[in-house]
């Protein structure tokens, strides 16, 4: 008992550190992006061709240097966060909601419902992603909302499969049987007994997927399927800076760091949230 207590107190300290770091990183980034219009009224578009490819930390005007067109990297990183975060966060939230719902229904009710839903998911998984993207966005047209919609449609499957798997193992647990024995109805069992118990892995997958989708947006933009390439986004900046990597590393490294810190912050928050939701506090890392 004493050993367990020692462990849990150490864990609690670590937890609060996780929370502070997570809020600082993810929260700071979100705030900066939200107020980017105030900070950089030009939207990171103004060019200063005389100061092109200024290295970072050398002038106050361009603390993080400039890109090949002389645009301020700091401004573009912060303004670019708008599209990246919007796409990353909302596509994941949408996919989680849809996927979790389908996974819960398929895993809990089994039978023909499950067969239809899961076969459909398998078929979708079998289609090459890029092909799907070209098809989809060619029909819908491009734009931030279309990209988010497409990502939701393309990615709900992973959540549905994850949730269904967890539900399958949960539905045979004795506390579910015991709830049924008491007379609890199906809807209530799903919402109050199954959903809280599958949240842990979903949260982890979610936070990882945000990073993926930020990069995915840039790939789609690169293919001409995404947002207007002139509007800055982290993924787009990474792609632009690639050719200058040996001579002007800062052009791509700073947006890369922005992605990394955001994702790290979200991951820490995700871990913290998962442990907050788990009263046993014994979820192993």
């Amino acid at each position: 008992m004493a050993a367990a207590q020692a462990m849990s107190s150490a864990r609690r300290h670590f937890r609060s550190l996780e929370l502070v770091l997570g809020v600082l990183l993810a929260g700071g980034m979100t705030l900066a992006v939200l107020f980017s219009g105030l900070l950089f009224p030009d939207g990171g578009e103004s060019m200063d061709l005389m100061a092109r490819l200024t290295p970072p930390f050398q002038s106050l005007a361009h603390p993080l240097g400039t890109d090949p067109l002389g645009r301020d990297v700091l401004a573009r990183v912060i303004v670019g966060g708008k599209i990246s975060l919007t796409v990353g966060v909302f596509s994941v939230l949408g996919a989680v909601t849809l996927g979790t719902f389908i996974g819960l229904v398929a895993g809990y009710y089994r039978g023909i419902t499950e067969i239809l839903l899961m076969r459909f998911a398998d078929i979708q998984l079998a289609l090459p992603f890029i092909l799907l993207a070209i098809m989809f966005l060619a029909i819908l047209g491009t734009g931030v909302d279309k990209i988010i919609f497409f990502m939701i449609v393309a990615q709900w499957v992973q959540y549905a499969r994850l949730v269904r798997g967890s539900v399958l193992s949960l539905r045979d647990r004795e506390f579910i049987l015991s709830a049924r024995a008491i007379g609890v109805g199906n809807g209530r069992i799903i919402l109050t007994h199954i959903l809280p118990n599958v949240l842990g892995p979903i949260i982890i997958l979610m936070t990882l997927q945000v990073a993926n989708n930020i990069l995915l947006e840039s790939s789609l933009t690169f293919l001409g399927l995404g947002v207007d390439p002139l509007i800055p986004s982290w993924g787009g900046m990474l792609a632009d800076g690639r050719t200058y990597l040996q001579t002007a590393w800062w052009v791509s490294v700073f947006p890369g760091l922005a992605i990394m810190f955001t994702v790290l912050g979200l991951n820490l928050l995700g871990d913290w949230l998962r442990d907050l939701l788990d009263p046993t506090g014994q979820t192993s890392k």
Partner: protein, 624 residues
């Protein structure tokens, strides 16, 4: 004194002031504190205690297996004399030396035979591995020897068994394979950690017999770790009683039972249900339980006759209930095999009465409970609750039935949702059935229920993992009572608990029965518990009731051969008692049958008023 010194030098194993801790620094948890005992060659030492007493950790520490479970030996010696010569201190021995000793001089059997056998190797290969490793035999010799060993543990058809995989064997057979493996190298010492706890009683009796016979034959010393005082009485020469990591008593087995010295031993023995303790009494009886309170054993509760049953009109009538499950289908979905879990079972339960359903695994006793609770659909038969036919009920009536019948599961931890407070879990039936709308009123009711089961109102805000096993079962009982049921189905509800806790929970159930005139369907495999709690008993075998009668009739005048066999298999917590001469043999047959092969339904005859016995066909007599 010189005699004692002499004994010590002869001891095969001397544990001296052994201490084991988990964790480090000030936060370290001392699982074993300063424990000493000797094991004499060829003798059996039983180490008894309840969960958390440190008995298993002690056994692991002897082989220094605690190194692999996060524990540390913080002091003491474990002196092992394999040939009566120079003693080796296993605490200080090198890893290489220890590997030579493990499995060769000291062997171990664990509780769960399924998890201790590797599922991807055949039985023969696993036994042979030990032989090749320690005895340097080649493959063919090892296989021959493995076959001998399987015959030694009385496994029929040893030749074919060598090529079977663990999952193809029953639990009892797997445990015999484990014993065969443990004995492969003629160890001097065998450590058996709860080797029969997971097995049915008739299988347990067989395994205990085998261990005893082989011990006599091979002269092996045995350390027998168990919580079951009945097993202790049957197996041990000497007993070490452990409590909270310390040895509180050590004595020859007769002395421990006849004149226990330490208050804890006295409390433990008073809590052990003894078969035959209620002979001659017409009604079940509540008796005081000794509870440890600050190092002193205090009696709790009084003696009450449980005269609660009202035999005018039954609350539940079950007639020819049949439940089967389809298993094994062809590619085209045609069913090839069925589990005949319950076959034409009939019984009644009266208000305020406890009917015990006893039987071993596969007897269908739990399926009956689950069918009554509408967790499983019956295949046939009728169930009437309060005179209403369940099949004719509307959806709403069926829901109401779930309020009037409640179920308590075996494992209280598994049956509580870990994500909700226990207060929520207890309130759930009230919410679901809309019994109390006002949330303040509901909270008050939850607090009241917690108090009724012997917990405190402030416990409502805690989560299941913050409670001990006994407390959790109290929570499950509170939850079952929340909807004011008339019938409570208790499915092995006290089987997983330590005996002292078990005795308290049984008393609680009986007290609640008296206060609320509850009827219980008490499903269990434990005959001694049945004798204590039930008014009437139904004995089940392979999905059918073979004997049904009053508690006295079943225990004092058992008629069916299976009932007798079951009673004979129960280990009795009395070392003075003659060991049963009857040798129990045979596995429990499987209830899975190919489609079209229906089991024969026994006809029952009434041998005395209310005492029904199945007429035995020769085939059944052969099996039982």
């Amino acid at each position: 004194m010189s005699d004692k010194a002499n004994r010590q030098s002869e001891a095969l194993l001397s544990v001296r002031s052994l201490s084991v801790a988990f964790g480090t620094g000030d936060e370290a948890f001392k699982a074993v504190k300063d424990v000493s005992f000797d094991v004499q060659p060829g003798k059996t030492l039983a180490v008894v205690g309840e969960s958390g007493s440190g008995k298993s950790v002690t056994s692991l520490a002897i082989m220094r297996l605690t190194d692999y479970t996060g524990g540390r030996i913080t002091g003491g010696q474990v002196l092992f004399r394999p040939d009566g010569g120079e003693a080796i201190d296993l605490v200080k021995a090198s890893d290489a030396r220890l590997r030579e000793i493990r499995g060769n001089d000291i062997a171990m059997i664990f509780q769960e035979p399924m998890t201790s056998l590797n599922p991807v190797f055949t039985v023969g290969n696993q036994i042979a591995e030990t032989l090749i490793l320690h005895q340097g035999l080649n493959g063919r010799e090892a296989r021959l020897r493995a076959r001998d060993l399987l015959q030694k543990v009385r496994l029929p058809d040893a030749d074919r068994l060598l090529d079977r995989y663990p999952h193809q064997l029953s639990g009892g057979m797997r445990q015999r394979v484990m014993i065969a493996m443990a004995l492969a190298c003629n160890p001097k010492l065998l450590i058996a950690d709860e080797p029969t706890t997971a097995l049915d009683v008739t299988i347990q009796a067989q395994i205990l017999n085998i261990i005893r016979d082989l011990q006599a034959e091979m002269g092996t010393a045995v350390i027998f770790i168990t919580h079951d005082m009945g097993v202790v009485a049957e197996m041990a020469d000497d007993v070490v009683v452990m409590w909270k990591g310390e040895k509180v008593e050590q004595a020859p087995v007769r002395d421990v039972f006849a004149a226990p010295q330490h208050p804890y031993t006295r409390a433990l023995l008073s809590a052990v249900p003894r078969l035959g303790a209620f002979t001659g009494q017409p009604l079940p009886k509540r008796t005081p339980v000794m509870v440890m309170d600050g190092g002193v054993a205090k009696p709790v509760g009084g003696t009450h006759e449980q005269d609660t049953a009202d035999y005018t009109k039954p609350i539940l009538q079950v007639e020819k209930l049949t439940t089967r499950f389809d298993v094994g289908k062809t590619f085209f979905g045609r069913v090839t095999h069925r589990v005949h879990a319950v076959e034409e079972v009939s019984f009644d339960i009266y208000p305020g009465e406890t009917l015990a359903l006893v039987g071993e695994s596969g007897s269908g006793k739990s399926t009956i409970g689950r069918t009554l609770q509408q967790l499983v659909e019956p295949t046939g038969g009728t169930v009437r609750f309060d005179g209403r036919d369940m099949e004719a009920m509307s959806q709403a009536e069926r829901r109401r039935l779930r309020q009037e019948i409640q179920y308590i599961f075996q494992d209280p931890f598994a049956s509580l949702d870990p994500r909700h407070t226990v207060g929520y879990s207890i309130a759930e039936p009230i919410i679901v059935h809309g019994l109390i709308k006002d949330s303040k009123e509901r909270t008050r009711r939850v607090h009241e229920l917690l108090e009724q089961v012997g917990l405190q109102p402030q416990h409502a805000k805690r989560y299941p993992h913050e409670f001990s096993g006994g407390q959790r079962q109290r929570i499950c009982i509170a939850r079952a009572l929340a909807s004011n049921p008339k019938l409570v189905i208790a499915d092995e509800s006290v089987s997983a608990l330590d005996v002292s806790i078990q005795a308290q929970i049984i008393n609680l159930l009986m007290e609640l029965q008296e206060k609320r005139r509850l009827s219980y369907l008490f499903i269990t495999h434990d005959m001694a518990v049945v004798e204590k709690i039930s008014h009437r008993v139904a004995v089940m075998y392979l999905g059918q009731i073979v004997e049904l009668g009053s508690r006295r009739a079943i225990f004092e005048n058992p008629q069916h051969s299976y009932t007798r066999k079951l009673l004979a298999a129960v280990p009795i917590a009395d070392p003075q008692r003659e060991r049963a001469k009857v040798r129990i043999e045979g596995e429990i047959p499987s209830p899975v049958r190919p489609v079209g092969q229906e089991p024969a339904i026994h006809r029952m005859r009434e041998v005395a008023p209310g005492h029904w016995v199945a007429i035995e066909a020769d085939s059944l007599r052969g099996a039982a």
